[in-house]
Symmetry: C2
Subunit: 359 residues, 2 copies
């Protein structure tokens, strides 16, 4: 690792001159010396020591992506396609902007904070924060923060949120199910907070608007941890006959459930209709292909990173960005209306089989 000082020594000039050339402050340097330095730099393959640079400038060029893992969920957060696609979008955007991404996964907010402080990261993207988690972080950490999928009105005073019109998504989907003749519709999730709550509310609202009463028993709770999942699926499958359709809070759960149902000889969509939320590869690759609520997860990651980068440049950004959803009708919902006229399906889906394509 060659240093500026060493280069200056070998070239018989000052470190300032070398530094100026490196930073293209050409006005300050004669063409002659400029060329001499440039050639030398190329030859020795100089790379600046970023620790020294950061120390001198009090910045880090690092953007932290902190994922808060929920203890009651899977052991390996990143296995969820949603999470990995999100990371991909963030990483790409950060890299293209000349920043670096430091990934940190933890279930402990304090640990995340310490990590962020030591590295003096220039900006922070948070995912998985519940309620006032984000606020607590923002009180300690005085640089730009962008949250993803956090539901906290209070929080919006402290940070930007990149979210989704979750409620509209499930509202549309529930309405679609109702239009297909479904009345006994369950909602499957692992919790009733944040995003999941919003999705639950959209579903409830659609029921209400259609004059269908929501009952507590419509909520099916799944326990996704490895040691619980089999028992959990068994319970859910036992209760499946109570409903004609189950709305799942994610594609991952929808596909997991469909596998379990099929293992028990319950046919989708003939015996029961299943829908998801996310529109990721799991549902696209499944057969029958999953009818689901689409969201552009990569765009979510990209938007989060972009917004943060704008804030770092001092630009103003809205404190809340909501990405749209849309319904993707595939093959897991059965029309059970007695009068089988024109199918709602044709209205909703413009293009069929926009299936998985390694994108």
């Amino acid at each position: 690792m060659i240093t500026i000082k060493e280069i200056a020594r070998q070239l018989n000039m000052s470190t300032t001159t070398v530094s100026n050339v490196i930073h293209g402050k050409a006005g300050e340097v004669s063409d002659d010396t400029k060329k001499k330095v440039q050639d030398f730099l190329d030859k020795v393959d100089y790379v600046p020591n970023i620790n020294a640079r950061n120390l001198a400038q009090n910045e880090s060029k690092i953007i932290g992506l902190a994922l808060k893992a929920r203890a009651d969920k899977y052991e390996n957060l990143i296995m969820d396609p949603f999470v990995s696609v999100l990371i991909g979008g963030v990483e790409e955007t950060i890299r293209n902007a000349g920043y670096f991404m430091m990934l940190y996964i933890s279930s402990d907010t304090g640990e995340i904070m310490r990590h962020v402080s030591t590295w003096n990261v220039d900006g922070l993207i948070l995912f998985g924060m519940l309620n006032d988690d984000g606020i607590r972080v923002s009180e300690k950490y005085k640089k730009p923060i962008v949250c993803i999928d956090t539901y906290s009105l209070e929080g919006l005073k402290h940070f930007t949120n990149i979210g989704l019109d979750d409620e509209q998504g499930t509202y549309d989907m529930a309405s679609y199910l109702i239009s297909q003749g479904h009345k006994k519709i369950a909602f499957l999730s692992d919790n009733m907070n944040g995003v999941d709550l919003a999705r639950l509310n959209g579903y409830k609202k659609a029921l209400k608007d259609a004059g269908i009463k929501y009952k507590e028993t419509n909520f099916l709770k799944i326990r996704p941890r490895a040691e619980d999942i089999d028992e959990s699926l068994e319970e859910i499958c036992k209760r499946a006959p109570e409903f004609t359709a189950i709305m799942c809070v994610s594609d991952l759960y929808a596909v997991t459930l469909m596998s379990a149902l099929e293992d028990r000889g319950i046919k989708v969509p003939d015996d029961i209709s299943i829908v998801g939320f996310d529109d990721n590869m799991l549902g696209q690759l499944h057969r029958p292909a999953l009818t689901t609520v689409h969201q552009d997860v990569k765009a979510k990651g990209v938007t989060a990173a972009d917004t943060l980068l704008k804030q770092l440049k001092g630009q103003k950004t809205p404190n809340q960005i909501k990405l749209p959803t849309r319904i993707i009708v595939r093959d897991t919902v059965k029309n059970i209306k007695t009068d089988n006229k024109e199918s709602y399906k044709d209205i909703f889906s413009k293009k069929r089989n926009d299936s998985y394509s390694c994108k």
Copy 2:
């Protein structure tokens, strides 16, 4: 961000003393001052500036995870479950050891090198390197390197490789197919290098040992990029009737193919048998559940990180670690032997339906 200097000023003592307390060099400090400093530290919530520390010690506590993306593969490398689970394993291990992970994705080896140099990362984990890529990196970068899934005998002189018994895996699987009466077996992959070549070789060897001739036309090439995938699948599906079984180089491809086949009315396993490689959630969630070669991807990531950490501590490690594979028999292979006696399946699979469990 309070500094040691500031703490020393407020406490009317020297930075050395404060530093000594922080680092538990208790022998050098009186109990009295020690307590005084400790209390103050807790109160002000001191976090060290890692740039300054790194500059002073010439280390970084960073382990770089560089993923080389192949230009002809998917746009978003991380969407492959294999990659995301790998990252998860590495991140967890690094974090638990008190190190930090910097993720860098690029298709340009030079770019990766520059990144690694500026950050002065203490160690490097490489994935996706072909042939002598790894060697070129190791010539520039003089600190410990661990590669994942790199096939390069020459490279083993320069770095440790964490690999898999790929050849044995496909050998076993092809043998299994043959035992089920299959003779016309295709092999599907997107390239013939590194890991894919090893897997191809295992398959060829099994054919040979069974007295079946391998023909060039047995190799089905898939083009996974979004703009090619549909056409590619169409071609492959058209050729499917030439074979009774197709071995895919990954679960991702196996499941992708099965969806395409089913869309065309070709039934798995009745019309054709399909097997994969990896044993990830895609195949586990699919119905019929995918018969595949199991590998423990998370263990691969963990082993890579562990090995690197050992090297950082100066411990010796083997320069090649090969993790085992095993065959998981599920439901995508049909026994087409004319004499239908005892099924080979019973011999291979001890436990049925070790299906997806959010693990």
